[in-house]
Amino acid sequence: MRISVTVDGVRYDDDVEPRLLLVHYLREHAGRTGTPIGCDTSNCGACTIALNGRSVKSCSVLAVQADGADITTIQGLANGELHPMQRAFHEEHALQCGYCTPGMIMAATDLLKDNPDPTEEQVREGLEGNLCRCTGYQNIVKAVLKAAQGVKA
């Protein structure tokens, strides 16, 4: 099937099998290997991207379902310089191995769209679909709170 999608501002037209998962499309056809596959069972959130502006787990969407969509991956966030969320993750040491980080950052930017000034509890709830096996979440939550301050300022 023929699909066209815009990924990080670049348009792609491709023939894909209906069973191709969006995450595989992004990694193998569009070169967005910044989006990792963690659990492959829709539980960990590592593969989170923005589909038409809202966070989704790209391992749980078919590429054909994304036909016509505007997609942002972790590789499309920085605009010459790091996105405030990326910078906050860096400054707050919000990663160790970094495997969950692209998904965490995409989920965190989505959270701030609806709630630009979240409480710590709201940050924890907003990230409930993203698992980190290294940091214990403390610095991730700090980073999101810091980015929220920066985005407001």
Partner: protein
């Protein structure tokens, strides 16, 4: 994990979608895909063709029908948590939808998919059961309307024929009722071990009427009739409502699995129903 091969069609009208389903017995509907895609990846299901409902924009609306709210089957869990009409007249859905999975899943998953999937641990089946909603279904020979008690038939099984589509959910407006959804799970994004959807109408310091729907207390969502009867006419007090809640497991047949024994589920249903009734009556 890669699904087995299938074809994919995205009809632009309901008639076309029903025709696509009727013309191939192994065709399957896909809405948000949040339950179906995991099954396809694990190769628990082998449809020949997926009929994507995403082109049916008419199924995305929420409308005020006077005495009820009509919610299109493609309305997402996220939209359920944000829609002002639903919040004003069916707040129990708003509250329960906010407990489903996590934000990314809620952006894709739909109310129609959650009901059609018929998962005993799903949150919305018990809510529509408590609210006694009408489920509107279209198939090759026209439309029909089912009540939740006739729609949910067994574990992961509903009364939907393979060529039928759930198009809308009509929720009666409960003006002046309080409500609460109590969900017990162990980790943030986990499914309910037991969930309780309660709605209560108070009158002169008493509970005039109560509705209670139970999640994961059987193969299908059930009404806690004994607790409802005990709550009706009771004092609107935490003690009286806890006593009514203590009858919530009567007549149920809860599952036994790795996460909970049946006895423990009965205990949870009793305690959570007391809490849900108390919260719905505005007492906590």
């Amino acid at each position: 994990m890669i699904p087995a091969q299938f074809d994919y069609v995205k009809p632009s009208s309901l008639e076309e979608a029903v025709r696509a389903l009727a013309s191939d017995e192994d065709a399957k509907v896909i809405a948000g895909g949040q339950s179906l895609l995991p099954l396809l990846r694990l190769r628990f299901a082998y449809p020949s063709v997926l009929v994507d409902l995403a082109g049916l924009d008419a199924l995305r609306s929420v409308t005020d029908n006077g005495s009820s709210i009509e919610i299109g089957a493609l309305v997402t869990h996220y939209e359920l948590t944000r829609d002002p009409l639903i919040a004003a007249h069916a707040g129990l859905l708003t509250e329960a939808a906010g407990t489903i999975a996590d934000p990314a899943v809620r952006h894709r998953g739909t109310i129609g998919g959650a009901l059609s999937h018929g998962d005993a641990a799903g949150d919305l089946p018990a809510v529509v059961t408590a609210l006694d909603a009408d489920l509107v279904i279209t198939g090759p020979s026209g439309s029909r309307v089912l009540k939740p008690g006739d729609f949910f038939s067994d574990y992961l099984t509903t009364a939907l024929a393979p060529d039928e589509i759930l198009t809308a959910i009509r929720v009666p407006k409960l003006s002046g009722w309080g409500y609460a959804y109590e969900k017990f799970n162990v980790t943030a994004q986990a499914w309910a071990i037991v969930g309780v959807a309660a709605a209560v109408r108070r009158e002169n310091g008493q509970v005039a009427e109560a509705r209670v729907g139970l999640t994961n207390m059987g193969s299908v969502p059930v009404r806690a009739s004994a607790a409802e009867a005990a709550a009706a006419g009771a004092d609107a007090s935490p003690a009286a409502l806890a006593a009514a809640g203590a009858r919530a497991d009567e007549g149920t047949n809860p599952p036994e699995d790795l996460r909970a024994a049946a006895d423990y589920r009965r205990h949870l249903a009793r305690v959570l129903t007391g809490r849900a009734l108390t919260a719905a009556a505005g007492l906590s």
